[in-house]
């Protein structure tokens, strides 16, 4: 996965969790919670989906790293680099 694909992967997961949110104009460096409605239950879901789709484990102490899209890329790209993007189907 490229860095852009990591962004796509995250946005795809958020779209599953919060289908009513508009994700088209998300900023990279502004906290996701300030741009769309995400609470701690939703962050748990992002982590659970990463695990389910890509086998990536994010320990609770690292949740903060996922606060912005930029943070997600920085934290997740090394872990996802060798994996290929596949979008979450609306299971």
């Amino acid at each position: 996965m490229t860095q852009d694909e990591v962004v796509t992967a995250i946005k795809d997961i958020i779209a599953q969790i919060a289908p009513d949110e508009d994700l088209s104009s998300l900023e990279m460096d502004v906290r996701l919670r300030e741009q769309i409605e995400l609470d701690s239950m939703d962050f748990l879901d992002i982590v659970m989906e990463l695990r389910k789709l890509y086998g990536v484990q994010v320990p609770e102490k690292d949740y903060m790293e996922l606060a912005t899209l930029g943070g997600c890329v920085k934290y997740l790209h090394p872990l996802l680099e060798k994996k290929s993007l596949h979008c979450a189907q609306r299971a």
Partner: protein, 471 residues
Amino acid sequence: MAYDTLIIGAGMSGLAAGIRLAQFDRRVLVLERHSLWGGLNSFYKLKGRPFDSGLHALTNFVPKGTAGVPLTRALRQLRIGYDELKLGQQGHSEIRFDGRLLKFTNQPEVFFGEVAREFPEEIDGLRRMVHEFAPYDAVSIENADSSAREQLQRYVRAPELIEILMLPTCIYGSAREDDLDWDQFQILFRALFLEGFSRPEGGVRTLLDLLVKRFRKVGGELRMNSGVQSILVRKGTAIGVRLDSGEELLAERVFSSAGHAETLRLIHGQDNSEHRAAGDASAGAARLSFFEAISVLDTLPANLGIDSAVTFFNHGQEFRYRRPKTPIDVQSGVICSPNNFERCELSEGFVRFTALANHAHWRNLPEPEYVAQKQICADQMLASATAAMPALGAIGAHSLMRDTFTPRTIEHYTGHVGGAVYGSPVKCRDGRLGVERLALIGTDQGMLGIVGALLSGITIANQQALMEAAR
């Protein structure tokens, strides 16, 4: 093959917990004793007509897109779209208290306006109370119990207004006699007056169909006619269940929505009197149950001047919320008509009446008397409701049929001892019962009503299964 999680009960909480776990690839089996899902809020057919067993109104109504509140939070966690629920809002509802009439709608200002008109000196106090309500997150799991009656006196001086506020909040969610916990009062006041009432088009079935469909889609298994006879415990850890049929199933974890005392019995057995005594004392026996009569009319209630979605009524200055000595207590009650919600699909009129009832009385009646007593009580209830809402006088001439159910019916179909609708007065907020890998979900975990039961299943699944794996 062993399961990851076995869930006892296919009510709102069991199905919600099941969806959360199956959604993340856990192998989940929901076991239900009854032949139909839904539990306290199920549905049935009688003479070709669809009936909801519990639904008056879905509380916690918010418009689409409202964030951080119970209804939308629950839907999001279950990945059910807001529009799929097909919610129709109430027009208005009412409190008829000893000659006073206060209306409310899904716009909180309407209720505040009514209070200001009836109790001009109290409105500031009421607004201050709402302002000081704890945020949603703080009212969740670890709150100490305290009396709403006492806390209300900090804001409201008129004893009558305190009774007026206790009436709908107790009837729609208190397991305690003559009171409710202050945190539960806050949750209910919000759910009823700050958010409001709606009804899914098609009734509770619409919601249940969504839950069951979703659960199956994410790979969950649902077995009906499969009562759990006991929970298997080894060295203080739950390892599975034994069904009524004798079949044993093993799992990493068991969730039970059967109720607190009921679940303790599944662990310790009926005959172990020592454990049972301890269990009953710690769980607190449920004392409150309800009687309900549902009249079907050949015309819509609104044509007869019955235009309120839900009406809470009380005769006299004091509201009694306790187990009656008589079969039912008609001094207070609820009148509800699904037709008075937007989008209602019913072509005939439906009016439901609910009153407090004494379970022991109903349980012990022999069959012919049971049937006769139901009719007598339904008539008493209608008379009392008509005294509070005169328009009801017209329904006799339009009645096509009437169904009634009692605490005995509720106990029979849901297994809740005493026909308890709101469970035990002692809530078990963290869901723990002293057995490893076993958790309580649903009403006795302390979250109320349909939306509460959904959130209970969700929260316990998150905390006790999903977060553990994420750590």
